[in-house]
Symmetry: C2
Subunit: 358 residues, 2 copies
């Protein structure tokens, strides 16, 4: 068995939950933590001996650049797995060089897999040419701990053909629409009020526009579409309906945006009423039509009795229609956001990587 080393970038909500899950792994499986960092601090040593994440705050280690970190990790006397718990584009951009240096990567960071197609190709070429030495796992990049990526990969690896993927891919959007237009026809307030409540409860990003612009969903659909075989160039190369009213695109900050959002409640109310007249409800849905090579994100009217309409809370729901699951899709549903469940996907991926590398 090889020595197995762990490096962790990012110790926010997901990172903390991840470290605590790793601390509870059986000692036979637990890798040795040799590097941990947050934005302005790093903790490591030149002898590759184990560090304690709780010493990070008081660390005076010299800050390594990403390329210095890659050298440091690839020189470790064993195999190293880098866990990137950030949503940083810079870190994501450096994955190909980490992988080429033989460092495996486990991450919930969507940016690596949903930015330009070149980065995607560079990442997977580096993995392929490593001959099993450098692995990459990213279950939590879509649906947090829900088994979405692994299931899609298994379908394809065993020769199935995915024809269509659709569902609700944002916990925030799910919460907003389940509250605004519940399947039972009851309403729970005006659109702007519900957005404000969600913001106050921490269910949206600090600036709700980062959810309402649809880009989070577009990034997830980009990942799934690419796994299903489509060459999606970037998440802004297919139709994504933003829920930021055009007139508010220039709002100078989130508080101006929130203040003026009530002016547009009528628009959302009209969608809701129009759907209700058809026995439907409005939802924010993403879909990939593989044969037609079409990816689409935006508002749709769905049947009141459908699984999407019946979602609760901030649950995600993903449907895979394939050559094998043809009449009824393979469906995965559950919480698609939150520190613990996102960390669970990362930790489960880490275990898979450890099992393969040891």
């Amino acid at each position: 068995m090889s020595n197995l080393y762990l490096a962790v970038i990012g110790v926010g909500g997901v990172g903390q939950a991840f470290l605590s899950q790793v601390a509870n792994l059986p000692s036979t499986l637990r890798p040795s933590l040799i590097f941990v960092s947050r934005s302005t601090k790093q903790l490591y040593n030149s002898s590759y001996s184990a560090v304690n994440a709780s010493d990070l705050q008081s660390s005076s280690s010299k800050l390594l650049s990403l390329s210095e970190l890659s050298s440091y990790l690839s020189s470790a006397p064993g195999k190293t797995i880098l866990v990137d718990n950030t949503s940083s584009q810079d870190v994501a951009d450096s994955y190909p060089s980490f992988l080429s240096a033989g460092v495996s990567i486990v991450t919930p960071n969507k940016k690596a897999f949903s930015s330009n197609l070149k980065l995607w190709n560079d990442i997977f070429s580096a993995v392929d040419s490593s001959n099993g030495k450098a692995l990459i796992y990213h279950e939590s990049s879509v649906g947090a701990g829900l088994p979405v990526i692994s299931t899609l990969k298994d379908l394809i690896a065993t020769g199935d053909q995915v024809t269509r993927i659709e569902g609700v891919f944002s916990g925030t959007m799910s919460f907003l629409f389940n509250s605004f237009a519940p399947a039972d026809g009851s309403g729970k307030g005006k659109w702007s009020e519900i957005v404000a409540q969600a913001k106050d409860a921490g269910y949206t990003e600090p600036d709700p526009r980062d959810d309402l612009n649809g880009m989070d969903v577009a990034r997830k659909l980009t990942i799934l579409a690419r796994l299903a075989g489509l060459k999606v160039q970037a998440p802004d190369t297919f139709p994504v309906q933003s829920l930021i009213p055009e007139a508010l695109a220039s709002a100078k900050d989130s508080s101006e945006f929130m203040q003026r959002l009530p002016e547009f409640d009528g628009e959302m109310e009209a969608y809701k009423d129009q759907a209700a007249k058809q026995g439907k409800v409005v939802r924010y849905v993403g879909s990939v039509d593989v044969a037609a090579e079409k990816v689409k994100v935006g508002l749709e009217f769905v049947d009141q009795g459908s699984p999407i309409a019946s979602l609760k809370g901030s649950d995600n729901l993903m449907c895979f229609y394939t050559k094998r699951y043809v009449a009824n899709p393979l469906v995965i549903q559950g919480a698609g956001a939150g520190g613990e469940v996102t960390a669970m996907g990362v930790t489960a991926d880490l275990i898979k990587a450890l099992e393969r590398l040891r």
Copy 2:
């Protein structure tokens, strides 16, 4: 990289689909087939060179006993994975000796994991003491290719606590009740007629009593309960409601059973009516209450709007309630039977084993 060898027992519906999926794996991953068998034929050679499954019928290889097979496979010049595509108790009983000899196992065979607890313990002790040399994967033992076992294992391995598992675990039962008592209140015939139709369409076992006795569901619940930490001694040590009327228990064969089943249509109709009066529908449900250490299989009345009531065709549905997925469960839904989807679970497991062993 080690030489990787594959041995396959059972080439029926699942076995054929599996072999065809394996034939389409990339050559870099595909193991060398050194043994294939069906009930009365075996094909292998003393030099461990690759065999062609299509030559099985005309093979004149001397039949090996299971213990001779174990010796043959463990002497191969590389690592070997045995795929058991049967539902044989004898083969299942021999897993501990294969594993102890360093042979990994991939299988949809429920018997190995749902018979007496000693066999379960022997299997997993053999895996543990092999130090990563002998692996076991059995995704398709519950829900065919649906990611049920892997998800439950990931939840537990990452420190989650499963509190409750419930759902519809039999494609046959799902089809029967979705037809007999659809959520929209329409009925599609008498119970005995629906059983007869299902039998004619091949949706039941050749003898429908093998589905109606509930033991298939009981075996699946045994597996899930054990994974969740309960020491279930055997699938007949908790309440399992048989849908074989007591008066028909002594029917001498399935045709006498089918002939007399209409006498009991009134009983099932009464369940249906009683449920309808409560705004519910009757379904055949399995559940594991982990805290109370209770496993239960039988008829339940579920809300007309619930996911279980809304199932279509012969779909399965599994809900996992855990410390993390607390308000809304993690749900997996889709076809839970059929050669192609069962084989998919087996092939995906094989890939995971190959990736770890190479």
